[in-house]
């Protein structure tokens, strides 16, 4: 897909994010907006996925022959739900049910309600990289050439299990795995550097044995695609790949940027209007 087309998708996804969060007055817009360009780049350009003749996506849990994506920081579910719906996994109209009673779009992603596109529950942080490693190992055992992607938060790096997985993957040469850290420098209680600094996270992963790529402009679609392509070219070489993706929390909505305030806060009616005014409706609102 052309960069401009991807940017158009991203604009619509950002509208979907703020509208979902506004409608139920809860959820996490900041990280969702920050990771929009990555998820659009993955689902609309980089990932190999089966597609039906009518453009919708078939879903089977095992994902044989497909690339898989695991969202470890499950609280940015609005961006995942929007990208899944917009790429054909379920009707876009269902985004209106986000976080409401009897919805398949739970506050945090789950397989429990059988939402196509979701392969694991996440929300309790630190577990996704381990799951992604397991899925990558299953692909190897199956002789499946698909790539497994995993997105984590930078605050999430404080969880111990992340480092169990970080140690495991290079030792076991999990080279069909591309992990991404959303380096937005913010977490619930404030800047990550103040809460509990990651210090030099890239150096930590490098010394654990990962190939680390730096994506300095994680909200620039061209840079995102370029880095994802480079990461893919580095798979199959006996080393897992990690992307340090610097993003702006709240990217695309000016008043949500540069603060951790919008980590888990919903916009009111006025704020919603202000946000939507900055985000062209490119694919039609649900």
């Amino acid at each position: 897909m052309q960069i401009t087309e991807l940017q158009n998708v991203a604009s619509q996804v950002r509208r979907d994010i703020v509208r979902q969060v506004h409608a139920c007055q809860s959820g996490h817009p900041g990280g969702s907006l920050g990771c929009t360009d990555l998820l659009v780049g993955l689902y609309f350009d980089q990932m190999t996925q089966k597609t039906n003749a009518d453009g919708t996506k078939p879903f089977d849990m095992n994902g044989i022959g497909e690339d898989l994506f695991f969202l470890s920081n499950g609280h940015i579910s609005p961006v995942l739900y929007s990208v899944l719906a917009r790429s054909g996994y379920f009707p876009v109209a269902e985004l209106a049910t986000f976080r409401k009673l009897n919805s398949r779009l739970q506050g945090h992603p789950t397989t429990h309600e059988h939402l196509d596109g979701i392969r694991i529950a996440s929300g309790s942080l630190g577990q996704g990289l381990s799951v992604a490693i397991g899925a990558a190992m299953a692909k190897k055992l199956n002789g499946d050439n698909g790539i497994v992607y995993c997105l984590m938060g930078d605050g999430e790096q404080q969880e111990g299990q992340v480092w169990e997985a970080a140690m495991f993957a290079p030792h076991n040469k999990i080279d069909n795995l591309i992990a991404i850290v959303d380096y937005n420098g913010q977490q619930i209680d404030g800047p990550t550097d103040k809460v509990l600094s990651n210090r030099d996270l890239a150096a930590k992963y490098e010394v654990f044995g990962w190939k680390v790529l730096n994506l300095a402009k994680g909200n620039d679609m061209e840079s995102v695609i370029e880095t994802l392509k480079e990461a893919r070219s580095l798979t199959g070489q006996g080393i897992p790949v990690m992307i340090m993706m610097v993003t702006e929390m709240g990217a695309g909505v000016d008043y949500m940027m540069g603060t951790h305030k919008w980590h888990g806060t919903a916009p009111n009616d006025e704020q919603l209007a202000a946000a939507l005014a900055q985000l062209p409706e490119t694919l039609g609102d649900y």
Partner: protein, 319 residues
């Protein structure tokens, strides 16, 4: 009353190892994982015959549970193994979110459960795991009674789709069940029929219950002995049928009284058919170092303790 005898004693963990060896030969999707306790889990034969289907996780149980959940995505049947303490309490949230809530086909198989782990002491003697695991929606919880039953259960859970917690132990105990038995998940086994008191036992306590039944028989008391090898799904019918006949019950488990097998039985009694009931189990206490035999005596988990509780239950029934 059937008289149970044995010609050898074996550890239930070896039954698990034997079951895994067979699964290695019959089930190509079975993958074994371990957190630095290969010898203790008796996985040597499986690993020797299927090196490509063994994943050594190191001392990182949380990661092992996550990897297991991931392996199911792709159709593998992971058997995640470690000590019961590190495969339940230590990784409860990982099991809860990535396995149970996600409904993944992961088999968590744990050895050295309970007091009979012995000299290592309370840090390793988990007595809460059955309770924690049975509280998880959708989790199947199995606690077999001897080598043969553990082997059969190991093979059976590979064919069952869904998360399972399989618990076994370290000490050598009598092998008294059939070598070629078919293990039926969720179906209690009536070891001996009786009319005066129902003794519901699980795991290592089943043999103790059988011995208790013999002691009671000498006193002219007819005890019905039922092996509840599956803690969840719970065989409510087996409990109801037995207590309606005997009118009183005893539970026996190497586990905390709080939240264990006994409480599952008590729920049935309270809600459906009330009879007096007594618990044999650890009473809100941690364990300690000692030989397995010493510990089972000190914490009241022997045949003699079951006899005492059975007599008490009968007295309450008759009073």
């Amino acid at each position: 009353m059937k008289k149970y005898t044995f010609t050898e004693k074996k550890d239930t963990r070896s039954g698990f190892g034997a079951g895994m060896q067979i699964l290695g030969q019959t089930s190509p999707n079975v993958v074994a994982l371990c957190a630095d306790l290969v010898g203790s889990l008796k996985l040597d034969a499986f690993i020797k015959e299927n090196p490509e289907r063994f994943i050594q996780c190191g001392i990182a149980e949380a990661n092992m549970i996550g990897i297991s959940a991931g392996l199911t995505i792709g159709g593998k049947i992971p058997f995640a193994t470690t000590f019961a303490n590190f495969g339940s309490g230590r990784v409860y949230d990982q099991i809860r979110q990535s396995v149970a809530y996600s409904n993944k086909n992961v088999k968590i198989c744990v050895s050295h459960a309970g007091l009979t782990l012995g000299e290592d002491g309370a840090t390793h003697q988990i007595l809460e795991d059955l309770g924690m695991m049975k509280m998880l929606p959708g989790m199947t919880v199995i606690n077999p009674c001897d080598y043969n039953q553990t082997k059969a259960a190991t093979i059976a859970i590979a064919d069952y789709e869904g998360p399972v917690y399989l618990r076994f132990g370290r000490p050598v105990i009598p092998v008294f069940t059939d070598a070629d038995q078919k293990f039926e998940i969720g179906k209690a086994w009536t070891v001996n029929e009786g009319t005066d008191v129902s003794i519901f036992a699980t795991g290592h306590l089943v043999w103790e219950a059988i011995q208790a039944g013999e002691i009671l028989a000498e006193k002219g008391i007819s005890a019905e002995i039922i092996n509840i090898h599956t803690i969840k799904p719970f065989d409510t019918e087996a409990v109801l049928t037995s207590i309606k006949k005997t009118g009183c019950a005893v539970s026996a488990e190497e586990h905390q009284i709080n939240g264990g097998l006994g409480d599952s039985i008590a729920q049935v009694l309270v809600q459906q058919y009330y009879v007096p009931m007594e618990y044999v189990g650890v009473n809100d206490s941690f364990g300690e170092s000692g030989t397995p035999t010493q510990l089972m005596e000190k914490y009241g988990l022997t045949a003699a303790d079951i006899v005492e509780k059975a007599l008490k239950a009968i007295r309450r029934k008759n009073s």
